[in-house]
């Protein structure tokens, strides 16, 4: 059987079970950390620590579970642009809202 696949998809990267389990353990640890931190009286810092930990978790899922690290550069560029657009939405909203 001959297959005509796109040239970019010719290199297949197989991620081992071990690496996935390691990332999963990290994600569980971060979940524990964010819950533990929320139990402390951090005041205004709680939103900062919660969102920082959530971003690290999201980064791990995107890069390893969703294979972004092993994909063609185009995928990574697109994902970065999409994330940046969302960030711009939020920042611009606050430029408007915070100074009313």
């Amino acid at each position: 059987m001959t297959e005509h696949t796109h040239p970019h998809s010719s290199e297949v990267h197989v991620v081992g079970y071990g690496q996935y389990i390691l990332i999963w353990a990290g994600l569980m640890g971060l979940t524990g950390a964010t819950v533990a931190l929320a139990g402390m009286e951090l005041g205004r810092w709680i939103i900062v620590t919660a969102l920082t930990i959530a971003s690290i978790k999201g980064y791990l899922v995107l890069n390893i579970f969703m294979h972004l690290r092993f994909e063609d550069r185009t995928f990574r560029l697109f994902a970065t642009v999409a994330g940046a657009v969302l960030l711009i939405f939020i920042v611009l909203t606050f430029f408007d809202y915070a100074f009313r």
């Binding site: 297959e3 079970y17 996935y20 999201g58 994902a79």
Partner: protein
């Protein structure tokens, strides 16, 4: 969803574009990001203007149930990721089992969510409930966002579970094989996005009190 162009011009001669299929799914995921992103912007603005009331609202949620559900979804992301490795290594049965576990975990998540919402309804907390309307504006907004955002997320969990169930059937019928598994890959991508959205919903609704 994406399409995999399979044209059988000659027997055993397959045209397909895995790269295009994955790109299609990623583009769809970006639209999902904007869908949920818009709601995160609304959350951010109302939280900014009703800080204290959002914190009161968050105290009404059960952090333990939220934490368990977070762990359930993270584990389901692990099993669906491992199912791709399994099919890449030609282990059809293991791959089907792992996708099956993923769906089971999705159901666990939904059952938890069901009990959580039922409890809220039982104490009179649901959109436009007389009980809720006696509360300050900020708490009404908080619970409005809570029900809409976790509800829309739960809808995504249901759709994701159906997509994965179809994938099990595909593996079973050798439509997804060791050499052609992009359908499972895009299904898994959708599932991971559902997980990422929850990764942000969880701290914003359960932890910031």
């Amino acid at each position: 969803m994406t399409t995999t162009a399979v044209g059988t011009h000659a027997v055993g001669h397959v045209h397909r574009d895995d790269y295009g299929s994955k790109m299609g799914m990623w583009l769809f995921l970006f639209t999902e990001l904007i869908l949920f992103g818009g709601m995160f912007v609304i959350y951010a603005v109302y939280r900014f203007s009703h800080q204290a009331e959002f914190e009161l609202g968050a105290k009404e949620l059960d952090t333990l149930v939220g934490t368990i559900n977070t762990m359930v979804l993270l584990t389901s992301s692990l099993t669906v990721a491992m199912s791709i490795t399994a099919i890449q290594r030609g282990n059809k049965k293991l791959s089907m089992l792992l996708v099956g576990i993923t769906i089971a975990l999705a159901l666990v998540f939904l059952v938890n969510k069901y009990f959580e919402w039922s409890h809220k309804f039982a104490v009179g907390l649901y959109p436009q409930s007389p009980e809720l309307l006696t509360k300050p504006q900020g708490e009404i907004l908080y619970f409005g966002l809570y029900f809409v955002m976790t509800g829309l997320h739960a809808l995504h969990v249901i759709i994701g579970a159906i997509v994965l169930a179809v994938n099990i059937r595909f593996i079973q019928r050798d439509i997804i094989t060791k050499d052609s598994y992009v359908k499972l890959e895009v299904g898994a991508l959708y599932w991971h996005l559902v997980d990422i959205i929850w990764i942000f919903l969880f701290p914003l609704f359960y932890l910031v009190h």
